[in-house]
């Protein structure tokens, strides 16, 4: 227990939070809010919606925490809540995801997070790339898009995706394959070439 809070595992934090320790839950929020926001943003395509879903996810998690028995990873549990909320959201709003150039993202912001010595051309290209990917992703059927998002941006295994979406392993692979194939075609149409972005660790958080 004397261990520093940032170094504890999710399981330890969940355990403490279930016994009423607010700090532990806050640490879980800090740890997972970015991935959850990113997931909701990529599924829904709009920043405000993603923000609301992200907030609602943690609200629900907080309320339902006692019911979480550790049958899955805490993150998988959170992802599942988020995906359910996203589905409700799209159904209720009868809205397909909108492709959107990341709003509030100025070139200066990009410069701030880019590795040094990147030209303005690169920044512009990267921004165009982001917009193009968001556009072609929005064109995918929902289940393919979700599978690709979970795989590419959250590094889940095939099995984890299958468990989360409640479908067989082979279906996950098929969806990924079909999704990637459609993306390839549409990206080629966009005629864009990736800026040689350094590939970070599989997970982006």
């Amino acid at each position: 227990m004397s261990q520093e809070i940032g170094k504890r595992t999710d399981e330890e934090l969940v355990d403490a939070a279930q016994r009423g320790d607010e700090d532990s839950f806050n640490e879980l929020v800090r740890r997972w809010e970015r991935p959850i926001f990113a997931l909701a943003y990529r599924v829904l395509g709009r920043e405000e919606d993603a923000r609301d879903v992200c907030q609602e996810t943690f609200l629900r998690a907080y309320r339902a925490l006692r019911g979480f028995k550790g049958q899955a990873k805490f993150s998988s549990w959170l992802y599942r809540i988020t995906l359910n909320l996203c589905r409700d959201w799209m159904r209720r709003a009868r809205r397909t995801p909108v492709s959107q150039v990341p709003e509030g993202m100025e070139l200066s912001d990009l410069a701030g997070e880019a590795p040094d010595a990147v030209s303005v051309e690169d920044l512009v290209a990267r921004r165009e790339m982001s917009a193009a990917v968001s556009k072609v992703m929005a064109m995918l059927p929902e289940e393919q898009r979700t599978a690709i998002i979970l795989k590419e941006y959250h590094g889940l295994t095939f099995q984890e995706i299958a468990d989360m979406l409640g479908c067989p392993l082979s279906t996950v692979k098929t969806r990924l394959y079909q999704g990637l194939t459609v993306l390839r075609r549409n990206l080629q149409r966009q005629n864009l070439h990736a800026v040689a972005a350094p590939r970070p660790a599989a997970l982006e958080t």
Binding site: Y41, R42, S130, V133, Y153, K173, L180, R184, A194
Partner: protein
């Protein structure tokens, strides 16, 4: 692309989720199958492209809203959270009012601004004030005048009582040979008198306090209403201004659309 099982292997290969054995087998297949090699290369390129999609930097994530509790309030809740500030202010006002009444102070916030007076020193002032005020307020003013008068009477009473007590002691001392320290119930008339005066004074104080209390509460209520009204007016103005701006923007966009359509038709 070949069979379903090969496709599964390809996806597994692409994401590095093949067993060593399967991987070796697929490597062997790739060496002999040109289309699969191309496919793997192209899908890898797609994966690289996907990395270019960055979510915006969101500054309003849940942890930024929470001080101690993990549950973040929705925007409306945050607005509502401010309402109790009124309650707090009201409570503070009441405490102030009560202590002021006890200290026999008069604190008033009205047309003249903030007025602080000690009850006794300013006893004549409210009378002039009354004449200057509207008849509707006159009733309450009259009430507070009587309260002032009561305070003055109390002071006079106390002086009278003091004089009478001194008189009594002066009378009794030589007669009974007792020091004034021995003021006890053996003088029933005196103690009854003292008790009566004290009770009377207490009753007046209570009445006075109640009257001032009511004054301050109704004053505060009036100010609160006026403030709310002003807030609502300002909000209304802001809303109508925003509406007007939106209408302007819509008009501008419509005009732009018209112009661009016209331009699009001209070349034909």
């Amino acid at each position: 692309m070949c069979t379903d099982s090969l496709r599964d292997s390809l996806v597994g290969f692409l994401y590095g989720e093949l067993t060593t054995e399967d991987r070796r087998a697929f490597d062997a297949h790739l060496r002999t199958c040109g289309p699969c090699r191309v496919e793997v290369a192209e899908l890898r390129a797609v994966r690289d492209d996907l990395l270019g999609w960055a979510p915006p930097e969101c500054r309003e994530l849940p942890s930024s809203w929470t001080a101690g509790v993990a549950v973040a309030p929705a925007p409306m809740d945050r607005l509502r959270a401010w309402a109790p500030a009124f309650g707090l202010a009201a409570a503070a006002m009441l405490v102030l009012a009560v202590s002021a009444a006890i200290a026999n102070l008069e604190v008033r916030y009205d047309a003249e601004g903030l007025v602080v007076r000690t009850g006794r020193a300013a006893a004549p002032a409210p009378v002039q004030e009354t004449t200057a005020l509207a008849p509707a307020a006159a009733a309450r003013q009259a009430q507070s005048v009587t309260a002032q008068d009561l305070a003055a009477v109390t002071a006079a009473d106390l002086a009278a009582l003091e004089a009478r007590l001194l008189q009594t002691f002066a009378d009794d001392a030589p007669r009974a040979g007792l020091q004034p320290v021995g003021l006890t119930s053996d003088n029933p008339q005196l103690s009854r008198e003292v008790r009566r005066l004290i009770e009377e004074s207490e009753r007046r104080t209570r009445q006075e306090m109640a009257a001032r209390f009511l004054d301050i509460v109704s004053d505060f209520e009036g100010h609160r209403r006026a403030d709310m009204l002003r807030v609502q007016q300002v909000l209304g103005q802001v809303q109508s201004r925003t509406g007007a701006e939106m209408a302007q923007t819509r008009d501008a966009v419509n005009r732009l659309l018209l112009v661009s359509q016209n331009q699009g038709q001209e070349p034909r």
